[in-house]
């Protein structure tokens, strides 16, 4: 039973390499998109921090900006 599962009648090399390629592609894509997201979020926080009080208030009046700031503190 265990041998059948591991060797898959001689096709384990093909099956496991197909599944591994798929899962590694998932992981790679997830990491690339996550890095892009964190980079943009950090850029936003840096830019927001450099605003004066009036500009910051004006920026905060926008719903998305408020959400980005709230999410960045949650992360």
């Amino acid at each position: 039973m265990i041998n059948e599962l591991i060797f898959m009648n001689g096709y384990a090399g093909y099956v496991l390499s197909a599944f591994s390629f798929t899962l590694l592609s998932f992981l790679g894509l997830y990491l690339v998109i996550k890095i892009q997201f964190v980079r943009e979020q950090n850029k936003f926080i840096t830019k927001f921090g450099s605003l004066n009080a009036e500009q910051a208030n004006s920026a905060k009046s926008q719903r998305i900006n408020k959400e980005i700031l709230a999410n960045s503190t949650n992360n």
């Binding site: 599962l5 898959m8 009648n9 894509l29 997830y30 997201f37 936003f44 004006s58 998305i64 999410n71």
Partner: protein, 235 residues
């Protein structure tokens, strides 16, 4: 109706959804992998090599679905003059591209034990290769042009030309003599695949769909923050 989908209104949802989608994806994928690799039966002809189907077929279905969605959204963006449609299209493209590559590579791995070759220039495989080129062109257009109007026009043109290839992919196995077998699953008539193989296939398809939703949400949020960064520069 369209106003409901404005970024300002949906960002609250799209920014919080990824963690829940990621959790659901991990759960469904884990069950799907156990079903696909352990519980589902081997095929009487292909033996255990048939298990490659559980990653190959969902990847192919989803890449076709995403390209069709990108085309519809791009054309709708022009008709309704809605930039958000273009943003959604752009955010869908990376996962569509990766699923297309997965379908090609896993198909190639499956080809070796079943057909005795890694690659054949048959109609289905060649048309899938052409689709990956259209995905690449679409993604490159977003990278190389600065003018929004130009990007919208050229990327839509790429999808309109590329969508001609989608029915060719679908019907290539019926129109030409190919190494691929005809479709085993039909929405309108009885499927020729046994339920013991159909359920794992549907589970893996659900897992893949959740993954593409996760990537879409993360990419869409990134694009919105990018726009907001430009907004801060203008203050």
């Amino acid at each position: 109706m369209l106003k409901f989908f404005e970024p300002n209104k949906i960002f609250k949802i799209t920014s919080r959804a990824p963690k829940y989608v990621l959790f659901l994806f991990i759960v469904v994928l884990s069950i799907g992998l156990v079903e696909a690799l352990v519980l589902s039966p081997e095929d009487y002809k292909q033996s255990d090599a048939v298990r490659i189907m559980y990653v190959h077929v969902p990847a192919a279905w989803i890449t076709l679905g995403i390209f069709s969605s990108i085309t519809i959204l791009s054309i709708s963006g022009f008709i309704f003059k809605n930039k958000n449609f273009f943003l959604i299209s752009k955010s869908l493209a990376p996962s569509g591209f990766v699923f297309n590559i997965i379908a090609l590579v896993t198909g190639s791995i499956w080809g070796k034990p079943t057909w005795g070759t890694w690659w054949a220039w048959d109609a289905r495989i060649t048309s899938m290769l052409i689709l990956v080129l259209f995905y690449a062109m679409y993604l490159i257009v977003w990278r190389i042009y600065d003018s929004e109007e130009k990007v919208y026009k050229i990327s839509t043109l790429v999808t309109i030309v590329g969508i001609i290839n989608v029915p060719i992919i679908k019907y290539s196995v019926d129109w030409w003599n190919t190494l691929h077998q005809p479709a085993s699953i039909n929405l309108l008539s009885k499927s020729s695949i046994h339920s013991s193989m159909l359920y794992p296939l549907l589970l893996m398809t659900a897992a893949f769909a959740l993954f593409s939703l996760l990537i879409f949400l993360m990419k869409y949020n990134t694009e919105l923050i990018k726009i907001k960064n430009k907004g801060l520069d203008r203050l």
